[in-house]
């Protein structure tokens, strides 16, 4: 679970790191990804792993459109504008999803067996999704560190003006990275669909948006590898504290575990605002 | 009035100020001269309370203000005009300057109406009165520098710290500002400390005393003509030619 969340958080962190935009529509993008997996599976019996491809393409397209029509026009304005635009986009996507797919929960079971690790049964679909997200993140980092494009992105994150002076087409890069960030969110959503026990509905993204913030803050805003490691950490922290709370007989262990996650954000923001893995 | 005693300030391993001491008397005008990186701005930040020094003391009118936050120093009468103007872009000139009046040495003694009156008077003084209801964000850079000056003056300071107020200005404007600062300093008995990197002519015209900083230490102090003639100045600005 943590690995899958980490994939989405890398997308969120990429957008913040490159464009300095906090994308509040992140959760809505995850939701879209979940629906893509769901529909392709229910209608065509498509393997959820393959639905990553359409998620990737749809993500790029939506990202490009959103960047061109909205983000590029306001990203240099006050912070408030991009935040509110993100919310507007979130509402738009959610309401569109509601109209098209109805507000009810839809679920599906993708059972490909169970593996036992140390006596604990893990559904194979979850293990597979974790491995797939790890693979995607690995590909992303290889691109980031081994290609010219990746070098340009890293330059841009350090110093946009300097990057522009070096002949990097900043606008094109912004558009590309925004789209890629959205793509990562959709792909992450596609995989989260496998973990979604109570099914998906148009508003399912909310809780993931907030968790994504925990992750991104934990890893350091704009730090890409931090985001991925942060995702795994948050997954572990929530599972572990749920276990501990259950052990002590707290009425709602799962919910209190989320409280711990948010408490963590506050503590980290105050003590180490650059995150656990962010440099100064 | 202001006394800086044996101040040392480090950033990590770098010593930005090394055992620097200086005094400024009421109504006096001094210039702190030094090349880029000599510690001038750090010295101002210490006097101003942006950060505390590791060692040494800052004393203002007999009180130790070393650890006092910068806003309280403003109430005591220390004002600062930044080198790169720090305008409040979405409010009018008049409001910007009124903020200075409200929170300067008159803090708690005047209300918004009096502050606006002071703002009008200060804007007249620097020649920006006609633009008083424009938004600050619309001004050009030389005007912003004047506004910065008006904001600091509205604080009715006893000591005014000017970061390079004449740097990057055309010579005609330099003369105008220098004579303006002199006039106000004389009329209102305001002590002025200014940072100077290059424009030496302005220094001579303006300062009664010059302090030279080099690599974080005070190396020279004296009347402007004497200091400028000192061979050490050439060494600081041009490097040790003879050691090549």
């Amino acid at each position: 679970m943590g690995s899958v969340l980490g994939l989405g958080a890398v997308g969120l962190s990429l957008i913040f790191g490159v464009l300095r935009v906090v994308n509040l529509a992140h959760g809505a993008f995850l939701m879209l990804g979940m629906y893509i997996t769901y529909w392709l599976f229910v209608l065509y019996g498509l393997n959820p792993a393959i639905s990553l491809i359409p998620s990737f393409i749809v993500g790029l397209l939506i990202g490009a459109i959103v960047y061109q029509t909205i983000i590029s026009r306001i990203m240099y304005g006050p912070e408030l504008s991009t935040l509110v635009a993100g919310v507007g986009l979130m509402i738009l996507l959610e309401e569109a999803a509601k109209v098209m797919w109805e507000p009810t929960y839809r679920g599906f079971i993708y059972d490909i067996g169970t593996v036992y690790v140390g006596g604990i049964g893990l559904p194979l679909s979850k293990v597979a999704s974790a491995l797939l997200s790890l693979l995607l993140v690995a590909v992303f980092f290889i691109v980031l560190y081994k290609t010219k494009l990746g070098t340009a992105v890293r330059a841009l994150m350090q110093d946009p003006e300097g990057a522009a002076l070096c002949g990097i087409n900043v606008r094109l890069m912004y558009a590309l990275m925004f789209s890629l960030g959205v793509s990562l969110a959709l792909m992450s959503g596609s995989l989260i669909a496998l973990h979604q026990q109570q099914g998906i509905n148009p508003y399912v993204g909310h809780s993931y948006l907030l968790i994504a913030f925990v992750i991104v803050v934990l890893g350091g805003l704009g730090s890409l590898h931090g985001a991925y490691v942060g995702g795994i950490l948050v997954g572990v922290i929530i599972s572990l504290s749920t276990l501990v709370f259950t052990f002590f007989g707290v009425p709602q262990p799962m919910i209190l575990a989320h409280f711990i996650a948010f408490l963590l954000i506050l503590i980290i923001l105050l003590l180490r605002p650059q995150g656990l893995f962010g440099g100064k | 009035m202001l006394e800086v005693v044996n101040v040392t300030k480090r950033f990590g391993g770098i010593v930005a100020l090394r055992n620097v001491s200086l005094k400024v008397e009421r109504g006096e005008r001094i210039a702190i001269v030094g090349p880029n990186g000599s510690g001038k701005t750090t010295l101002f930040n210490v006097i101003n309370g942006v950060y505390p020094p590791e060692e040494g003391k800052v004393i203002f009118e007999g009180a130790d203000i070393t650890m006092l936050p910068s806003y309280k120093r403003a109430w005591l009468g220390i004002a600062r005009a930044f080198q790169i103007p720090r305008p409040f872009p979405n409010i009018t000139l008049r409001e910007s300057v009124a903020i200075g009046a409200l929170f300067g040495s008159l803090y708690g003694k005047i209300g918004a109406r009096e502050a606006l009156e002071i703002a009008d008077e200060r804007l007249k003084l620097v020649g920006l009165y006609d633009k008083r209801n424009e938004l600050t964000g619309k001004l050009a850079v030389p005007e912003l520098k004047l506004l910065e000056f008006a904001k600091a003056l509205a604080m009715k300071p006893k000591l005014l710290l000017l970061d390079e107020i004449v740097a990057g200005m055309p010579p005609s404007a330099v003369d105008y500002i220098v004579s303006l600062v002199r006039k106000i300093s004389d009329e209102e008995n305001i002590a002025i400390a200014t940072l100077v990197e290059h424009v030496m002519r302005a220094v001579v015209k303006f300062a009664e005393r010059v302090i030279v900083l080099h690599l974080g230490s005070k190396v020279l102090e004296g009347r402007p003509e004497e200091v400028l003639r000192n061979p050490l100045m050439e060494e600081i600005y041009l490097g040790k030619r003879w050691s090549l």
Partner: protein
């Protein structure tokens, strides 16, 4: 006093709106009904209360609804306590208001004291975490009824009887809401015309420069944060009187915060006219749209919102103010 004519005009307009609420009690005029007026006033109050912090300081508080939630809970728990002890009903409401003020003030001091050391996106995320953290805390530790919530209408009816209940739920709650809106308006005006307003503007524009100019930034930020928070609590408390129950997902629904931000953005941050225009336009539009096309109002509303942000990012009043010197003097 700068902008006093605009202030008087605003007060006058709002008074007319309030008067319309009672005139239309018997018969609606067009789409104007008591519900419409209250709906609009809710958003006007929300905009004004929120604007005192977000508009004047430029900090984006994404946890604002926590204050409203706390107000709702304070009112609900006061009524429940009074109901179980059979104390007089109106006393419970007054007690609820007092508790709202005390609790929201404490929350504001704690959150403000800690989170206001952060800036920009960091502050926004910290406040989201406070809101979500509180929600999970109430839910997880079964405080105030936990996820089941806490009843309001039932205990209130037991306390005062059916007739008095409908009077409280309709009239008293409305009046409290209107009063909150007027208090928020007056505070905004007083702040704008005093040292406080200048300090907050300086903080919004350049916090470091403000500090050097003698502004005790921490003090003024916490002042604005708690003023805005207490007013938010009062809105929550008066609204709770209309509800059957207060429970976490609704009370802490981040959507109210979003609406408040939208209103302030729509009208223009930092002025008192902005949130009123924003609140009236937003509330009115939402009411009318939900009447004609129920279920689709958000779908239509979202693109309008985005278009406004893209085209007039400084808000309607901000846009006009930037262009006209006369308007600047008029509204201060």
């Amino acid at each position: 006093m700068m902008g006093y004519r605009a202030f008087l005009l605003t007060v006058f307009t709002l008074l007319i709106l309030v008067a319309l609420r009672f005139i239309t009690e018997a018969e609606p005029i067009g789409f104007i009904t008591p519900q419409f007026v209250t709906f609009v006033m809710f958003y006007v109050a929300l905009g004004l209360a929120f604007n005192i912090f977000i508009g004047m300081t430029g900090y984006v508080d994404f946890g604002y609804v926590a204050f409203m939630a706390l107000g709702s809970y304070a009112m609900a728990s006061a009524i429940n306590r009074a109901s179980s002890l059979s104390l007089p009903g109106y006393g419970a409401i007054i007690l609820g208001l007092v508790e709202t003020i005390v609790l929201t003030f404490i929350l504001a001091l704690i959150v403000g004291g800690i989170a206001l050391r952060l800036r920009g996106a960091y502050f926004a995320i910290a406040t989201i975490s406070v809101n979500e953290g509180l929600r999970f805390l109430v839910d997880g530790l079964d405080i105030w009824g936990g996820s089941a919530g806490i009843y309001v209408s039932g205990p209130l009816i037991r306390l005062v009887g059916h007739e008095a209940y409908s009077f409280i739920a309709l009239i008293v709650s409305d009046l409290l809401l209107y009063a909150t809106a007027f208090i928020a308006l007056i505070i905004t005006f007083v702040y704008l015309n005093s040292r406080i307003g200048y300090a907050l503007k300086a903080i919004r524009e350049d916090e470091d420069a403000a500090k050097v100019m003698g502004v005790n930034t921490t003090f003024y930020k916490v002042l604005a944060f708690s003023t805005s928070g207490i007013l938010g609590g009062l809105i929550g408390a008066s609204w709770a009187l209309k509800l059957a129950a207060v429970y976490p997902p609704e009370a802490f629904n981040i959507f109210y915060t979003v609406e408040a931000i939208v209103i302030v953005m729509l009208g223009g941050a930092g002025t008192f006219l902005g949130p009123i225009v924003g609140g009236a336009v937003y509330g009115g539009l939402k009411y009318v749209l939900s009447g004609y096309i129920p279920g689709y109002q958000l779908l239509i509303f979202a693109p309008i919102l985005i278009a406004i942000i893209v085209m007039v990012p400084q808000g309607v009043i901000g846009f006009l103010r930037e262009r006209s010197e006369r308007l600047r003097e008029f509204i201060a």
